[in-house]
């Protein structure tokens, strides 16, 4: 253990489940309290970083609670950890050292997230983190435009809160999109001026817009189109504005195009299937441009998950 247990480093530790609430069909909010060691690792965790949970020893929920589409795959026992971003990190200082509470938003998609449903208050889980490099926030930043697609929400929610707390002068606006109303991991409410807004950002004083592919809530169309209209109307200054995007890869590719069109810099948080999360296995390669035609693979877990959108070769 070359580095000991220090802020800024990563390690393995335990966390206790404080609550695990269903927020929508297949969407849950998990709150964890980290142990003393984990709290030290996480006290300076930044938005865009992530962690890996060992979910291999959790029981399956009862048959009737398993979505029919997942019943077959539910039988598979889990071997590898699973990566999750966090949507909030709260550091409570105390004289025995910091105590950190974490919030995770997750979507039930397969055997591991299915098992997460069975977490109850008091359950102890094994955590590896904090991992990767989060979003960069330059001192000169004046405007932050957050674009969240589907389950890309958590790190941007964290980023919104983080900006309010540590960069209160930055003007932030958030665009959240999903296929349909039910796939938005947020609470929607009617805003004062702009129509439908996201409760979670509203409480932070951050204006927000909603887009759904099927028009079931807010703007009908891709969230990047919605953000594009806003950019056309508002023309933020390239030098002090950054687009922060997290979501499915095609959406990130669109965000990158948008950034290029408006000459803005853009940071995208990427997802890859990960076996280790700590740079050992090379499973999480992201193709990065190193010259006009040359590329190399960087590791999503170690060099990312946040990358400069201009550098990324998006897939498909």
């Amino acid at each position: 253990m070359k580095n000991g247990v220090n802020a800024g480093h990563k390690g393995v530790f335990t966390a206790e489940v404080l609550s695990n609430q269903q927020i929508r069909e297949n969407y849950y909010r998990l709150n964890l309290r980290l142990d003393a060691i984990g709290s030290r690792y996480f006290q300076s965790a930044v938005p865009g970083q992530f962690l890996e949970l060992d979910l291999s020893e959790l029981p399956l929920p009862p048959e009737e609670k398993i979505p029919p589409a997942l019943r077959d795959s539910a039988h598979r026992h889990i071997l590898l950890r699973r990566p999750f971003s966090f949507s909030d990190v709260i550091v409570l200082p105390s004289h025995e050292g910091p105590c950190v509470k974490l919030e995770i938003l997750y979507c039930v998609l397969g055997p591991a997230t299915l098992r997460m449903m069975s977490l109850t208050s008091g359950t102890v889980v094994n955590v590896l983190g904090p991992l990767g490099n989060g979003f960069t926030i330059p001192k000169t930043l004046k405007r932050a435009i957050l674009i969240a697609g589907g389950m890309g929400a958590p790190p941007l929610l964290h980023l919104g809160g983080y900006l309010k707390r540590h960069f209160s002068e930055v003007q932030t606006v958030c665009f959240a999109g999903a296929r349909s109303c039910e796939d938005l991991p947020f609470t929607l409410k009617i805003g004062n001026i702009t129509g439908l807004v996201l409760e979670e950002f509203d409480v932070l004083g951050i204006p927000s817009r909603v887009a759904t592919d099927d028009g079931s809530a807010g703007f009908k169309g891709f969230v990047t189109e919605c953000a594009g209209q806003w950019l056309s109307d508002n023309r933020p200054h390239p030098k002090d504005t950054i687009l922060y995007a997290c979501g499915p890869e095609p959406m990130l590719a669109e965000a990158a195009k948008l950034a290029e069109a408006f000459d803005l810099s853009c940071q995208v948080s990427m997802e890859r299937r990960m076996a280790c999360g700590i740079g050992l296995c090379q499973s999480c390669a992201v193709e990065i441009k190193t010259g006009a035609t040359q590329t190399e693979y960087k590791l999503c877990c170690k060099d990312g998950p946040v990358f400069d959108s201009r550098k990324v070769v998006f897939q498909r």
Partner: protein, 310 residues
């Protein structure tokens, strides 16, 4: 029973402080692991496959989980010989453990080139010849299944090793692994490493495509352990023991009990791969628990275990 237990083993002319190594391709270049455990406590590390030129590797997805296992198709992604020498060897020198380098290539000359260059490095203790990686298209798989090719590549690479030992890593997916083991031993292998992963496939039934971009990948993890134990015991009995050549066993090891099982089957040392992804300090935990096993069973030197299958 305040008796010190000797965990050290003699392996291909080297003395290892204990029989536990981290497997090639699962411990990066050795440096990332240092954040999770004291790497100097390991029996050794085996650096991922190094090729003469850098290799980007395969597109993603490169992995997929299976029941008690995972498939990988990394495609021998590595920074290439030159960058390895300049960027990584200085770090490896600081780790304080025995370092083996796994070597891969498309032609015999590729292997020879890497080994010849690295045999001059004091930080490198020896080589593991990867003639069995199932994920490289143009390359090595044919080397791994034909005894005459094994003889040829082993002989030529051994000649480039200088005084350093050469471990030949065998593919398990052959009709008779002993034929190949014998070929490697006859051509000068100082140790045999088994098993590498099994070629396998997972299909996404929603879009009817293989999950891995490379279509197939190598199966590792606990799922393969009983096959690996069998192959180690067979190669030990038929080839390694008569020839006096040690076996580096592996495949699905997660616990000290697993290590003991491999050693009883015939392994002198073992590698831990996939398990490190789940618990980064698996290897050092396992070493501590090996000591407990020996204590409980009244074993003074862990060497007694090797090949002790009744």
């Amino acid at each position: 029973m305040e008796q010190t237990i000797d965990l050290s083993v003699d392996f291909a002319g080297l003395k290892l402080s204990n029989p536990v190594l981290t497997a090639s391709g699962t411990c990066g270049y050795g440096d990332e692991l240092a954040e999770f455990m004291d790497v100097s406590k390991l029996g050794g590390v085996i650096i991922k496959s190094i090729t003469p030129a850098p290799r980007k590797g395969n597109p993603t997805p490169r992995i997929v989980e299976t029941d008690a296992g995972m498939l990988n198709a990394i495609g021998l992604a590595n920074i290439g010989l030159e960058r390895f020498v300049h960027e990584k060897i200085p770090i490896l020198e600081q780790l304080g453990t025995v370092v083996f380098v796994n070597v891969a290539g498309q032609m015999i000359d590729d292997y020879v080139q890497v080994v010849r260059r690295l045999s001059q490095e004091r930080a490198i203790a020896g080589f593991e010849l990867n003639i069995s990686c199932p994920n490289v298209k143009q390359g090595s798989i044919s080397f791994g299944t034909d005894p005459s090719q094994i003889r040829q590549i082993t002989g030529q690479v051994k000649a480039a090793c200088g005084a350093k030992p050469l471990i030949v890593k065998l593919t398990p997916q052959v009709t008779d692994i002993c034929v190949l083991a014998r070929a490697a031993v006859e051509a000068g292998a100082d140790a045999l490493s088994l098993v590498n992963t099994f070629t396998a496939m997972v299909i996404d039934i929603e879009n009817r495509r293989p999950v891995l971009a490379n279509r197939t990948g190598g199966l590792s993890g606990p799922a393969i352990k009983p096959i690996a134990i069998y192959l180690v015991s067979k190669v030990y009995q038929d080839v390694a023991k008569p020839a006096g050549i040690p076996i580096l066993g592996g495949g699905g090891i997660r616990t000290a009990s697993d290590v003991v099982e491999f050693m009883i089957a015939g392994a002198t040392a073992v590698t831990i791969g996939t398990a490190t992804f789940v618990q980064p300090d698996t290897a050092t935990r396992v070493i501590d628990n090996l000591r407990n096993y020996c204590e409980r069973k009244g074993i003074r030197s862990i060497r007694q275990l090797t090949g002790s299958l009744q």
